[in-house]
């Protein structure tokens, strides 16, 4: 019944398109594309003046990261282990912005997806695959991807393997720490941090592999950067030719150490940090965290810290710091020309939204940071808001939508995924 309705809907749109074409051209074989419609009320989102939004698709399941092809087709990585549901392909036949072809393929959970050249890359929580694209940038063999990386550690905590590629044939994979702060007993009150944290050997960093070599294991890769607790959003900044990542900061400063931190400090510490990485960099986890209020690297209480002692002399500083616990799941440097000039080369960050602030959660929005010469040139601001559909969120389960992945379309539109209801939003700028 639903399928019939959708068909009927598609048919009536098609009929409208061909009618208008007939009227203007007298030639029914020419299909003129509609200019993208936008949803009434911008699909529920709050946006700056001049921006509009529409839902390209919804109810896709847990839509994690997203990639858009040079022809505007959309591939969404869905967090599902159901057969044939790993990746959803969206195509818009009539140019109204709404997907009217929705197909899915692949069987594996996972978050990462990205397009580079003639390949689509996607990750499970252990492996990375690539799919060859045809001249229309569509996957040729959805059931026969090449496995390029295999056997990455997955212990259920911080298990997403997010992806970025540079312009020299390398792929970067986040391997998150399977721990909060490398304690002897994870998240246990009073449990000390392990000296010489062994998790750093196989996780808590970014690994670099070759994008075109099959079956690479740890030994074939390079530990590119370490001391990063968990990175879900990362992007290759083509202007700087450098990898930028967003770290999920640690939990539990107040819960585990009420002798050093108040509830309010637990809510506000540590900062969610953006790092610009060079090969060999160390961001300091688990020994330190970044206090965004004092703008200092602080010794972690599991390793002798008390909320006052600083640490991490060899650890890099973040290039930008955001309020604690907001869970940055998507990072995108905007290179398009559709948006006003201030957005060019700046960073969009999708904050999934916090769960461990107490008495009111934060995030659930997409923010923007202007950039100049590879550094933030101004304060961050909320760009797209009201994904949650409610104010005063006490518990993340109350949010109707949570932003997760970001991608830029060939026309400079911004795509945002939501992993609660599986919505794909497209944000455009018209100036009106």
């Amino acid at each position: 019944m639903k399928a019939k309705l959708i068909l009927l809907g598609c048919w009536s749109v098609m009929a409208l398109v061909s009618n208008s074409c007939l009227a203007t051209n007298g030639d029914s074989t020419v299909i003129r594309h509609h200019s993208p419609v936008t949803d009434p009320g911008n699909a529920g989102l709050k946006l700056p003046a001049g921006f509009k939004a529409l839902k390209v698709a919804e109810n896709l399941g847990e839509a994690r990261h997203v990639a858009v092809t040079p022809l505007g087709d959309v591939y969404v990585k869905v967090q599902s282990s159901k057969p044939g549901k790993a990746i959803t392909f969206l195509h818009d036949n009539n140019g109204d912005g709404k997907a009217d072809v929705v197909k899915s393929f692949g069987t594996y959970r996972g978050t990462g997806i990205i397009i580079k050249g003639n390949y689509l890359y996607a990750s499970s929580d252990e492996d990375v695959y690539r799919y060859k694209l045809n001249d229309k940038y569509q996957v040729i063999n959805p059931d026969q991807p090449e496995k390029i990386i295999t056997g990455l550690i997955n212990r259920h905590q911080h298990e997403s393997k997010s992806l970025a590629l540079d312009n020299d044939g390398n792929i970067y994979v986040n391997i998150g720490a399977f721990s909060n702060s490398c304690q002897v007993q994870d998240r246990a009150k009073g449990s000390k941090g392990i000296e010489g944290c062994p998790i750093l050997d196989s996780a808590a960093g970014i690994w670099q592999f070759k994008a075109d070599k099959l079956n690479q294991a740890y030994g074939d890769g390079v530990k590119y950067a370490t001391g990063l607790r968990n990175v879900v959003g990362l992007d290759w900044n083509t202007q700087q030719n450098q990898l930028f990542v967003m770290q999920h900061g640690r939990d539990g400063l107040f819960d585990m150490f009420p002798e050093y931190y108040t509830l309010e400090q637990g809510n506000e510490l540590p900062a969610e940090c953006m790092y610009a990485l060079k090969k060999g960099d160390n961001a300091g986890w688990p020994y330190i965290y970044y206090d965004g209020l004092q703008k200092k690297k602080m010794l972690a209480p599991e390793y002798g810290g008390d909320g006052k002692k600083t640490g991490g002399e060899n650890a890099i500083d973040p290039v930008a710091a955001f309020p604690a616990h907001m869970a940055p799941n998507g990072l995108l440097f905007y290179t398009g020309s559709q948006f006003p000039a201030k957005y060019k080369n700046g960073a969009f960050i999708a904050f999934h939204g916090s769960w461990n602030r107490q008495k009111g959660q934060k995030g659930y929005c997409v923010v923007f940071v202007p950039f100049k010469d590879g550094k933030p040139s101004g304060d961050w601001e909320v760009f797209a808001d009201n994904f949650a559909g409610i104010t005063n969120i006490q518990s993340p389960g109350q949010a109707q939508h949570r932003p997760c992945g970001l991608a830029q379309g060939p026309d400079g539109s911004l795509y945002v995924t939501d992993d609660v209801k599986g919505t794909v939003y497209k944000i455009t700028y018209s100036g009106k």
Binding site: H156, Q157, Q185, D186, R187, W355, S395, P396, Q398
Partner: protein, 138 residues
């Protein structure tokens, strides 16, 4: 005006009823104490509404572990739980640390509170039951 008088009469009736209400039962007292334990040790992860966090921390609403076998549930509090163990066919990313530092009374109270809150309705947990499970710990 008439409405106001009616409201006042109704209010005072309720108030006097409350004043005359019988003392809270031991079960209710346990729930009240349990709520405090919950707020201090459980709420940060399992949330104010017991809803948990999708994929990170399991919900406590009608979860089989919560309303099911008491021995198993007490065991989870004492030993904690690893994220590799599925809960009602779902995996949750965060490990739960052991809470064996809680007193028998606190564990009985918090479990009684959880089993009779968030839409749950299950039998209270007693101190004796917690003691018995703790005695079997290695």
């Amino acid at each position: 005006m008439k409405r106001m008088i009616v409201t006042c009469v109704a209010l005072s009736a309720i108030l006097s009823l409350m004043a005359q209400a019988p003392k809270t039962t031991p079960g209710q007292q346990s729930k009240i104490r349990g709520k405090k334990v919950y707020e201090q040790y459980c709420l940060a992860c399992h949330q104010v509404d017991g809803g948990g966090v999708p994929h990170l921390n399991p919900p406590l609403k009608k979860t089989s572990f919560i309303i099911g076998d008491k021995t198993k549930l007490i065991d989870v509090i004492l030993k904690g739980m690893q994220s590799s163990v599925p809960i009602d066919d779902e995996y949750y990313s965060n490990n739960m640390p052991p809470h064996n530092f809680l007193k028998d009374q606190e564990i009985a109270d918090v479990l009684t509170f959880i089993r009779n809150n968030f839409g749950n309705k299950a039998k209270a947990v007693t101190i004796a039951e917690v003691k018995a499970v703790r005695a079997k710990q290695p």
